[in-house]
Symmetry: D2
Subunit: 97 residues, 4 copies
């Protein structure tokens, strides 16, 4: 499955990038496929792998903020792996015809 | 924490309510506090409780559809319980003044 | 269409309810059907009506905060009105059988 | 502002990429800055520009499907332009130190 994941502390100032650095390090260290974009990070893996990573990110953020906002949008498709690359390629292929 | 949770099969017809009945039964049976609304269900509990329920709903849906779309928006606030009732009451109290 | 709408200032403290009071007054005054829930507000109307209201809420919030986070989830179904009430009733009816 | 935008027909089969081709053409033709990712498209511009584009995409999709699901997550920050590029760069810069 692919999860579009976004996390932010609530009430810790307008600039959020400092608090995201450690979260991104956890994503890097997870070994899962991921794609950062301007509004979040797409992570690919099975349910337990991805959710363990999301929980670790949340635990890290709650060490710094008393309130955390998390957003997850999940596309869970049986039998599909390598989905991050395939999704973009699928649309691109159709546009060329 | 409170999670606004929505789940839908992809590609199974326009009417989604039939596939939601079993999901709602799992929510009922969980013993967690919840609030259904027109676009989803708010569920309150600690991380592991809520996520175990969400995973069970997803597993049930994947028995009926090969592709499932899930949306989660999480408000995780240290030390807050009874949050579903409190959030609505907090705004209502301010509006009366 | 029905829109699940949530808005929050970024970096203005942990408690968000004070900043929401004026937004809720705009929703009330719009004349559109709505349903508050613990994580947002469902608003029903046609595209231009609902989006004009959302923009007015955003403009009001930007008078108080330099950065605003908005979340919208839209269920747009041709020929369906009275959707907020119908959606809940549809699932409830199936559960009774 | 930056909007993370995702649109899908409801009940039109598991593969969504065919229906997205025309939507992506509208995004291309808009002249706005955008970034496709595996779960959606980030679009940058002022409120009226971005929302006019989103409405055009929805109108196109409703020509093909009777029910459409749209998701928008908005980061609206006064005085910030070139935000798609800046957000990624901001986190990357902090990670190098």
């Amino acid at each position: 499955m692919i999860v579009d994941f976004s996390i932010a502390p609530v009430g810790k100032g307008e600039s959020l990038s400092a608090s995201l650095v450690e979260v991104f390090e956890l994503v890097d260290a997870s070994g899962l496929s991921f794609e950062h974009h301007a509004m979040g990070t797409n992570i690919e893996g099975d349910w337990d792998e991805v959710m363990a990573l999301v929980k670790a990110c949340r635990d890290r953020m709650l060490e710094k903020a008393k309130r955390v906002s998390i957003f997850l949008r999940i596309d869970d498709r049986l039998g599909v792996t390598d989905g991050i690359r395939r999704k973009v390629a699928s649309v691109e292929a159709k546009r060329r015809h």
